[in-house]
Subunit: 220 residues, 2 copies
DNA sequence: CTCTTTTTAGAACATGTGTTTGACATAACC
DNA sequence: GGTTATGTCAAACACATGTTCTAAAAAGAG
């Protein structure tokens, strides 16, 4: 094999692109694959074998999935093909399931769906590795997190000093502010009525994630 | 077998349903139409002509679009699947545009799109006649509404005593708690550093709506 | 039971469509 | 020039698959 001219736009590159574009458009418009002869017309080629060549090449490039022998069986192998599935409004939106209540000795973190779910913009929370918890109790009232609020938690195992985090202590989950006192780690409630909790990162004491957002629908 | 005397057709109804279900499943799984013979196997029918009959009937019923002669060309004609369109995730979700900043003498309420928009469950806020405002300032800090929060406002012209509302005073928009002092209406800040504002419902002083929700993405 | 209607089956038919083969043109290269 | 690689084409081929026809089987109706 000799060196292929990578720098110059070869003739085939243009044809391949036309074929690919036409397949995309056809599937988008008609919700079904074009036939080889459809592509002939659409891409300005006069021979089915030319199209055949390019289809096979597009398959090798991973841009389409091509089933030999099957009629109208081209599938676009892009991001996600999408058909009759739960789809976000835009690519920026993620669905967060509320997976439990938090604080004050509730069960927590069991069933993967507490019932409702809400939608937030991925660009706002910065990640899609998030989940949602409903707050119970008012131990964080000075941080303006109230009973009944939904907090958005980004999953992570560590956190910085001063972060408000969701943590698991034994069977109990809480929202608290992580900090240090005399060099030792504590979870600080933001309420004078509660006391700081010594925190040891073990199997029993586990950081669930950092609180990155809050939704409140009880305004009083 | 199972004598289902529900209505006139019983056996064909079951077959039609099996065919339809299988077509749905096949398209969902493979992202392309099944062939008539695929459906034969999938729906437990042994004759292509039976499938053919049912496909034509499903087309008449409007459940599928069936292109005579075309291979693997069945299209599901369900709840609009026009791709790449702005569609809600579920019927329960509404998109709220942030239409401006609020409090402390900003312009406000002008351009119908301040930039970002967020999604909330209609069932939670109880109405889709809502809009969103970004809070600026800390005059409502004791009500746990902070600088940078997004508040969800349900449009209404009146409100009850004690409601937290968004109101327009001259050119200026604010969030305040509506209440009365000595029988006269006031807008109360929830911050000792600010004073109550006498409120007269005129062209200059206007209730925009009631605050029904709050989103916060700055957690400190 | 007999007659009618509906549902399914089987086979034959028709054709859309994937696949292959070989040829022709054009360009690149020695 | 001759040689080789590449892009395209036309035609022939193979067959998966849509379509139709006729009839058997099953279900109701009387």
């Amino acid at each position: 094999m000799s060196t292929t001219p990578l720098n110059s736009e070869s003739k085939s590159a243009k044809s391949i692109e036309r074929v690919y574009k036409y397949v995309q458009k056809y599937i988008h418009d008609n919700a079904l694959s074009p036939s080889v002869r459809d592509i002939c017309a659409g891409a300005g080629l006069k021979s089915t074998s030319s199209v055949h060549t390019y289809l096979r090449r597009l398959d090798e490039m991973g841009l389409i999935e091509y089933r030999p022998g099957m009629r109208r069986a081209i599938i676009l192998k892009n991001s996600a093909e999408g058909s009759s599935e739960e789809e976000p409004v835009s690519a920026d939106v993620v669905k967060l399931n509320c997976i439990g209540k938090i604080t004050a000795g509730q069960p927590i973190y069991a069933h993967e769906d507490y019932g409702d779910s809400q939608y937030v913009n991925k660009s706002i929370i910065g990640s899609d590795e998030c989940f949602m918890l409903k707050v119970s109790g008012s131990s964080m009232i000075n941080a303006h997190i109230l009973d009944g609020d939904y907090i958005i938690v980004r999953k992570q195992n560590t956190c910085d000093e001063g972060d408000i985090i969701a943590a698991l202590i034994g069977e109990e989950a809480t929202v608290k502010r992580y900090g240090k006192l005399n060099g030792k780690p504590y979870l600080f409630p933001e309420n004078e009525l509660y006391s700081p909790i010594p925190f040891f990162d073990t199997e029993e004491c586990k950081i669930l994630g950092k609180v990155v957002g809050l939704h409140r629908y009880n305004i009083n």
